[in-house]
């Protein structure tokens, strides 16, 4: 029986076993390769997606639990080709390095800024503890997020 859910505004269905991690369905079946399977333990955050608006590590989410849910990946953050405000500020601050962690960072910050429009630097750091960057590009990323918190665009 197919499992149907919404990915970035499109109705999709999969025949994969319901215990298959969502990250594998996103990448292998729908070719949404922004989210990365890195640690597969929920520690690194590279596979973070929004499920019904909440950021979750898609390596630990079986696809059978998201039937009927709305899944939003990094590919769905831009609207009609226009980057989101989080994406824009990151580009302006030239934050991206290798790109492995970055989709997860964007997803985490998208949900965080929705719920906390004016966070302080320490709050931003705390929000990102589950997103590991092995390029160690944290400071520039946090600088950009602070700029967004101060009203930067």
């Amino acid at each position: 029986m197919p499992l149907a859910f919404d990915i970035n505004g499109e109705e999709r269905a999969t025949q994969r076993d319901p215990m298959t991690p969502l990250i594998d369905v996103l990448r292998e079946e729908f070719f949404l390769t922004g989210a990365k399977p890195v640690c597969r333990e929920g520690f690194c955050g590279a596979c973070t997606v929004l499920i019904d608006g909440r950021p979750m590590v898609s390596c630990l989410v079986p696809v059978g639990t998201v039937e009927g849910c709305q899944v939003r990946t990094v590919e769905g953050l831009a609207t009609a080709g226009e980057p989101s405000r989080v994406q824009k500020i990151m580009e302006e601050h030239d934050v991206v390095q290798c790109g492995m962690c970055f989709p997860g960072m964007l997803i985490t910050l998208t949900a965080f800024f929705r719920d906390n429009p004016n966070p302080g630097r320490d709050e931003i750091k705390a929000a990102l503890v589950g997103n590991i960057c092995r390029c160690t590009g944290y400071e520039r990323l946090v600088d950009a997020a602070v700029a967004l918190a101060r009203g930067g665009e």
Partner: protein
């Protein structure tokens, strides 16, 4: 309650729509079936080198397991309430400050959106649960449903039982009696956040007007294979004014109660060494709450 299992085909996950359905499906599955809540422990079974269960029964769509109910005498928390929802629902209530601290500090934000109270209690091989020592401090009771009916047990009793539950058992709710007690949670991860804590002290107590402490309950986590109370320290602190530095000294004198576990993140002796400091921090936080 029992009936024909609504399991579909040979799929490895069945999302139950009611508690009866879940109990029935788990009972039919016998020892090869496992309840599935948030999944943050079960989905990592391959990394731990464990074979997955033959069949999982998902609990996340059973509405009664996802609610938090607040009554005049007790609150009850559905087994599928996540750490994140626990923080959102109980922040600002002094009695539950320890539980909120436990839920807010555990793991990282994206895991806290998935990991549930019930799953945390049932992960028998996970020694570093934050919620379990906090629930011990609050004198929580665990409600279990199985084909024969329902029962409530203490957290300590549940930890003894949890590896040998009869097939068809579902942890349904956690009940916490309301009281005037205060609580606090002190944990030591090796990073500031995002790691498993090396040791945890969760403390709850009633304070009289003169500052003397009664009904002290202290849960210690991550030091041994499973969380447990610290009765020697509880007895030493009862009836006296709670003074953090003295609580630390008392803790130093009763460390023999524990046998620290060696682990990747810390050796056993280190877990013991930091415990008295965590007792002091918990006492400080409790007094300032």
């Amino acid at each position: 309650m029992a009936g024909r299992s609504p399991v579909r085909g040979r799929q490895s996950l069945f999302m139950a729509s009611s508690l009866d359905e879940a109990v029935s499906a788990l009972a039919d599955g016998g020892g090869g079936a496992a309840a599935f809540a948030g999944g943050t422990w079960i989905m990592r079974a391959p990394i731990r080198g464990e074979a997955p269960a033959a069949f999982h029964v998902g609990l996340g769509r059973i509405r009664e397991l996802t609610t938090i109910e607040t009554g005049p005498d007790e609150i009850s928390i559905g087994a599928c309430v996540t750490h994140a929802r626990l923080v959102a629902a109980l922040t600002g209530q002094r009695q539950f400050a320890g539980l909120v601290g436990a839920a807010r500090g555990a793991a990282n934000p994206a895991v806290r959106e998935l990991a549930t109270v019930g799953g945390n209690l049932c992960a028998a091989q996970f020694p570093a649960s934050d919620l379990i020592p906090a629930l011990m401090g609050l004198d929580a009771k665990i409600e279990l449903a199985n084909p024969a009916g329902a029962e409530r047990v203490s957290v300590e009793r549940f930890l003894e039982m949890r590896r040998t539950l009869v097939p068809g058992t579902v942890l349904t709710r956690i009940f916490i009696p309301r009281s005037g007690a205060r609580s606090a949670h002190a944990r030591l991860p090796m990073r500031k956040a995002g790691d498993y804590p090396v040791a945890i002290v969760s403390m709850a107590a009633d304070l009289d007007a003169d500052g003397s402490a009664h009904d002290i309950r202290i849960g210690v986590g991550s030091v041994e294979a499973a969380a447990r109370r610290w009765p020697e320290l509880e007895a030493g602190l009862t009836g006296r004014r709670l003074i953090p530095s003295e609580a630390q000294k008392l803790a130093e004198g009763s460390l023999a109660a524990f046998n620290g576990r060696d682990g990747i993140e810390a050796p056993g002796w280190y877990r013991l060494q930091v415990l008295p400091v965590l007792v002091r921090r918990a006492a400080e936080a409790l007094l300032s709450s």
